[in-house]
């Protein structure tokens, strides 16, 4: 494949210094541009660890991670921070908005980190993204005044503000009810289609897994299944 965005080559990860516990036992796979992929598996199977390494939040003990053919697993802490800021969009289970800021300010934070301040152009883009996630009217609400689903949608808009190549979600619907989960899925699908963003989400939700293009199933630090859903 020539349009590979992310690639993992024999990634191993262990924790602990005296007693080493290996969480990932040599994971290899690649992610093509524009794919919508779910990672499923039981708790403790290493899904989140893999996602954190792919998202440059963590580094592998051995093996290589490549972004568009460029190795980034051995970058310095600062380089990784910059890499995350420019190429990765994160969405977490617990939303993690900054309660001190309003919805639009939260969306703009990655831009602030990148350029110090946001230009008019960025503010307009933030407004567009909030419109995309259906929160145009809640722009200036403090994030603490938003519902769980609304907060998660703000987090999605925030993940998209720097035009990342990959959107990474660690159980993004884990905290949401069925209806909201469906809305969030639709949003992901929409973003995937319209912006062409590659989406990789760790999920426990079978419905979402069933609706994604590809499913990677993990068990005890290994990939046990990797298959494509037949699109309806």
């Amino acid at each position: 494949m020539d349009n590979v965005v992310l690639e993992a080559r024999n990634i191993k990860k262990s924790y602990g210094t005296t007693v080493k516990t290996e969480i990932l036992h040599g994971i290899s796979f690649s992610l093509a541009e524009g794919e919508f992929v779910s990672i499923i598996g039981y708790s403790g199977s290493g899904k989140s660890t893999l996602l954190n390494i792919l998202g440059a939040l963590d580094t592998p003990t051995s093996g290589e991670v490549l972004f568009k053919g460029q190795e980034y697993g051995n970058m310095s802490e600062d380089q990784l921070a910059e890499f995350r800021n420019q190429n990765m969009g994160f969405i977490f289970q617990f939303h993690h908005l900054l309660p001190e800021f309003t919805a639009i300010e939260n969306v703009l934070i990655p831009t602030w980190i990148k350029m110090g301040n946001a230009s008019k152009k960025h503010v307009n883009r933030a407004k567009e993204l909030l419109e995309l996630v259906g929160l145009k009217d809640y722009m200036h609400h403090k994030s603490t005044n938003l519902s769980g689903g609304q907060q998660q949608r703000v987090a999605i808009a925030r993940a998209l503000i720097n035009n990342p190549a990959v959107l990474l979600g660690d159980e993004p619907t884990g905290n949401l009810d069925t209806e909201t989960t469906e809305q969030v899925y639709e949003l992901f699908r929409n973003i995937n289609k319209e912006l062409g963003t590659t989406i990789l989400i760790v999920t426990h939700n079978d419905q979402i897994a069933a609706k994604s293009d590809r499913v990677i199933e993990m068990k005890d630090g290994n990939i046990i299944r990797d298959y494509y859903n037949i699109q309806t």
Binding site: L57, D78, E82, R84, N85, E100, I113, K114
Partner: protein, 404 residues
């Protein structure tokens, strides 16, 4: 930088109660420092002014031994009665005075011809010190005109000015005639033109101001003076100015107030040191307070910091958020503290003047002492933020995200 600043300001704004509390701490600390500093400085200035404000700071006389070596003339040593008096008078005093006038650090110069004698009035006799001066020049040092209790100051012709106690003891009033007998036997009658109160009992009971040339003649000094008295603008430079004068002229002997008031100086110094010590501890307490509040704040904000880091905030940048908070608290707290300090000073002046109409002693707020305190406080607050800042830079985003 703008981003860190934005987050720092927002963190402070949102944690209103905590921010106000810590600001209050800095404000009180800086306020106390400003007030204490002004109070001690004012007190010391007042003490110095009281002690030496109206007296000479430096005085020079002739070096008897020097002249004795130079010429064995008549005045170097003379026998009076059965004891020997060393002559310490100054010959070329007019020339010396001219040269001293050019020195900017000297604010007043007054040549004096002095000698012991007795005043006789209606049969009573009192020992006196006759001081021949140029009234205008002596006034610059002793403020005679401002401290007259009766009469008009004049040393023309036969006029002299005497002290309050001398006048009271001998029942002398203005325009009375008094007879002065000097140690060399000369006797002459003078008219009292005015009576002074120099706030010193021994001076008030013994000094008599007389015209300089008159005194020179009476005391047999010819064209010499006993000494030249001076005041300097900054009293604490007296020692240095004296040394440089002593090096400039040959055959003189110089002295200054610092030598003759050594115990006063020691007292002032210890007072200043204890005031500095108190201020240092106040600053330390404020610094520790800020440091602990910010350290708690790092823990409180660890979720936010984790998410900021996940989104690409570098460690250095994360620590800057807390340094900015420290600095910002310092700036606002110092400004408020300076205001409080000024308020306390005004309150002190007002409170102590309630009964008498004049404050206990004057206090002068100087930008030169308020600004360094503020700068120091801002620096201390920023330094206080260092430890919390380090803590925030070491925070691992993965930990925060994993544990929600």
């Amino acid at each position: 930088m703008i981003f860190e600043w934005k987050v720092a300001v927002r963190f402070l704004k949102e944690g209103k109660g905590q921010t106000l509390f810590i600001l209050l701490g800095i404000t009180v600390g800086v306020g106390v420092m400003v007030f204490l500093n002004t109070l001690i400085t004012g007190l010391q200035d007042n003490m110095i002014d009281k002690a030496i404000g109206d007296s000479p700071h430096i005085w020079i006389s002739g070096d008897a031994d020097f002249y004795q070596l130079k010429d064995t003339g008549e005045n170097s040593q003379s026998a009076r009665g059965n004891f020997t008096v060393k002559d310490t008078s100054l010959g070329d005093w007019e020339l010396i005075e001219e040269i001293l006038k050019e020195r900017e650090e000297i604010s007043a110069i007054s040549p004096v011809a002095e000698g012991n004698g007795f005043v006789t009035k209606s049969g009573q006799t009192s020992p006196v010190l006759v001081r021949g001066v140029d009234l205008e020049k002596a006034d610059a040092i002793y403020k005679i005109n401002d401290r007259l209790i009766d009469g008009t100051a004049s040393l023309h012709g036969n006029y002299v000015i005497i002290g309050k106690e001398l006048a009271e003891e001998n029942e002398i009033v203005v325009n009375d005639l008094i007879t002065i007998q000097l140690a060399n036997g000369t006797t002459q009658t003078f008219t009292v033109s005015a009576i002074f109160d120099l706030e010193n009992k021994s001076v008030n009971s013994s000094w008599i101001f007389m015209d300089l040339s008159r005194a020179q003649k009476l005391l047999g000094l010819r064209n010499k003076v006993s000494r030249i008295e001076m005041q300097v603008h900054d009293v604490f430079t007296a020692e240095d100015v004296m040394t440089s004068i002593a090096n400039r002229f040959e055959g003189i002997q110089a002295e200054n107030w610092m030598e003759s008031n050594a115990s006063l100086l020691t007292a002032l110094q210890s007072q200043r040191q204890s005031s500095l010590m108190i201020q240092a501890f106040v600053l330390l307490a404020v610094t520790l307070g800020i440091s602990s509040v910010l350290a708690v704040s790092v823990v409180q904000k660890s979720k936010q910091l984790g998410i900021l880091k996940a989104m690409g905030t570098k460690s250095r940048s994360a620590s800057r958020i807390f340094l900015f908070q420290g600095g910002l608290l310092g700036i606002v707290g110092s400004a408020l503290g300076a205001g409080l300090g000024i308020g306390l000073v005004k309150g002190f002046l007002w409170g102590t003047s309630l009964k008498t109409g004049v404050p206990l002693f004057p206090l002068h707020l100087k930008a030169g002492s308020v600004i360094p305190i503020c700068v120091l406080a801002v620096a201390a607050c920023t330094i206080a933020a260092f430890l919390p800042a380090r803590k925030s830079s070491k925070l691992n985003p993965v930990e925060v995200i994993r544990h929600g």
